[in-house]
């Protein structure tokens, strides 16, 4: 949702500031050992999720593509999205960027 500044114009960007440190609020009487264990479980889960995110990107968008049938479970509706994806990619390659482009270069 928009963050409205006092002047009435919405502040660009919908996200609240990134929180660098996410710590659970300490509950009264909670044993420190259990809290440490929960924190370390949370960190392990985050590590797996970050890994899975990067794995998905690579497996679905990278690697060698051999001309042939990609037999993923793609329903008919997904084909519309395939077209959209191609549209975005073609527009991006045509437009010069404010940000940066997908480019591979040495070093």
């Amino acid at each position: 949702m928009n963050v409205r500044s006092p002047g009435g114009a919405p502040t660009p960007g919908r996200r609240s500031p990134v929180r660098r440190d996410v710590r659970r609020t300490r509950e009264l009487g909670e044993p420190p050992r259990r809290r440490r264990r929960e924190q370390s479980l949370a960190r392990a889960r985050q590590a797996r999720e970050a890994s899975l995110l990067d794995l998905i990107d690579r497996l679905l968008d990278g690697g060698v593509v051999i001309h042939g049938d990609i037999t993923l479970a793609v329903a008919d509706v997904d084909l519309v999205y395939v077209g959209l994806r191609a549209l975005v990619a073609s527009v991006e390659s045509v437009q010069p960027h404010l940000g940066t482009a997908l480019e591979a270069r040495p070093g």
Partner: protein, 225 residues
């Protein structure tokens, strides 16, 4: 049908790891290359965690013995003849790519950028008289520019530690950085340390690095621009 995992040097040994659906992984020689495949009556690969990691474990197992060009998930061909034809048609290119990535691994770097944490620009009195539309546009421009600066601060030192690098263009409201780096195996630790340093030093960004991955980003063919 044959499910393809990766293309390797023919001298590389196969990992003692089962492939998808517990099928045996075996090599198909194609000239100066070899394709690692498993055979199935029929196979439908779902985009679920288990299949993804099953594919990945096979590819990573192959990495132990030499350079590996990983296949995209879901590459299936009807038989060996078609594997020979498809891979054979690109043999020269694939041999070259294999040589290019030999001795290196791919590392992924992501960062979330918070423009609010950056130094505010000096207030410009003339700007107070801007209408809401212009105010919006100027604020957007500043935000994009700052994010670009932060992204560049992250990317430059990392690119210097890598053989090759690629940045994924992010298209949307979020300010995120997403880069892939082809790093010599011997330089991985230094790269990791650099990411930690950048993460600590740049207040406006939170950075993570994942890997080592097979060279997915650096094996895929780029469109000629």
């Amino acid at each position: 049908m044959l499910y393809l995992y990766a293309i390797t040097d023919p001298r590389s040994r196969l990992p003692a790891i089962a492939g998808l659906r517990g099928a045996e992984v075996r090599p198909v020689p194609i000239g100066g290359l070899s394709a690692a495949v498993s055979e199935h009556e029929s196979i439908e690969v779902a985009t679920d965690e288990d299949d993804l990691w099953a594919h990945e474990q096979v590819v990573e197992g192959l990495m132990a013995d030499g350079p590996v060009l990983p296949m995209r998930l879901g590459s299936v061909l009807p038989d060996e003849a078609s594997v020979l034809a498809a891979v054979g048609a690109r043999e020269a290119e694939l041999v070259e790519t294999l040589a290019r990535i030999e001795g290196a691994v791919e590392l992924g770097v992501r960062a979330a950028i918070d423009p609010a944490a950056m130094e505010p620009e000096e207030s410009d009195d003339a700007r107070q008289e801007l209408g809401p539309g212009a105010e919006y546009m100027h604020a957007r421009l500043t935000r994009e520019r700052r994010a670009d600066e932060v992204a560049e601060t992250i990317h430059r030192p990392l690119a210097e530690l890598a053989r090759e690098s690629a940045r994924r263009r992010h298209f949307g409201e979020d300010l995120v950085f997403n880069g892939a780096y082809l790093v010599d195996v011997g330089a991985v630790d230094r790269f990791r340390a650099e990411v930690e340093e950048l993460d600590a030093a740049i207040g406006a960004a939170s950075i993570v690095c994942t890997g080592p991955w097979p060279a997915y980003t650096f094996s895929s063919r780029r469109e000629e621009s």
